[in-house]
Symmetry: C2
Subunit: 162 residues, 2 copies
DNA sequence: TCTATTAAGGATATAAAATATCCCTATTTC
DNA sequence: GAAATAGGGATATTTTATATCCTTAATAGA
């Protein structure tokens, strides 16, 4: 059970977009080049962000993506769910219905304890991701990444932003 | 990102095994029939439980599986990880290494903030599963399931336990 | 107006993982 | 000795993830 690599891509891309000056856009091409990713496939991840309303887009030369909200208004969960979907990791196949002892016509009322517990674990995962904002990530990254690299990356992006 | 259905199977089987009288075993055949599952494939899940040391097995007629520990000593996480593995859901492909601005020979020190946050969410999921014991599940089920069905299921199992 | 560039999205191909079955072996019970 | 069992290797099928290709409509700038 592993998340799509697009989740990582989307998170990185949002982190880059967060550093974009207001009103500017960054293209798929630039984002793919910066991260060393296949442009066409990364495009699908960015489309997911767009469909989820997390980013704004514009067409034409100098077109591309920018965040639709402030980094403090975007959570990890928003980004992860945009790409990965919001389905639960545990799906109940209702195997209890096969119990040979079950009275004919007996109908279970809602999910059993197994499902409820697994879903609570899913919710704990979501809650953690919901508690971290994109702005928190930027703050941590700015502390972790050498100032020199941080600066040159910022300039690299700015040169290509439309 | 969905858990294998074997996770559900393993949890259900452990719940059944928890009701087995001390020293008795229940076969794959009986567990498969009770849950309406493919015997050969369920067998793989039970083998996983066995390899993880969660259940004891014995061969021959009247052979099968029983819990290796008391239900209070078995957590959901034990069972889930036995079947699903203990890998993290977020794998870091180190795409930051492709950053064109990165100084030659520059070597990152450990996982970045993105990976750390995603791994914390994984840990929150695990922590939740670790906090629920098999005995807790049995207790809840015994309250949820109609007494009649609970009793007949118990008898069904007992008839087939070696 | 014309050209280049872009996001969106449909179609399709490839690779990997989950699901499922089959068969053989060693062990145990009777 | 015969029947039943877990273990496990080999293999097939189905589903999902990964990746590429191509067409369309919008936009910027010459
Ligand atoms: S016991 Fe729970 S998880 Fe299992 S089939 Fe029933 S509802 Fe689903
Ligand atoms: S930024 Fe973090 S998650 Fe992304 S590649 Fe680097 S270490 Fe991995």
């Amino acid at each position: 059970m592993i998340l799509k690599s697009q989740v990582e891509w989307a998170l990185h891309c949002c982190a880059i977009l967060a550093g974009l000056p207001a009103g500017r856009y960054l293209s798929t091409k630039a984002l793919a080049e910066f991260h060393g990713l296949p442009k066409e496939y990364l495009s699908k991840a960015l489309q997911s962000l767009s469909q989820a309303g997390l980013v704004d887009t514009t067409l034409g030369p100098s077109g591309g993506y920018r965040l639709a909200k402030a980094p403090a208004e975007l959570t990890f969960l928003d980004i992860v769910e945009a790409v990965e979907g919001n389905a639960r990791t545990f799906v109940c196949n209702n195997i209890r219905a096969n119990n040979p002892c079950r009275p004919l016509g007996y109908c279970e009322s809602g999910p059993c304890a197994v499902a409820r517990i697994m879903w609570e674990a899913d919710e704990a995962w979501r809650q953690k991701l919901r508690s971290v904002r994109l702005s928190d990530l930027i703050e941590t990254l700015s502390r972790d990444i050498p100032a020199e690299l941080w600066k040159s990356s910022f300039e690299w992006v700015l040169e290509r932003a439309g």
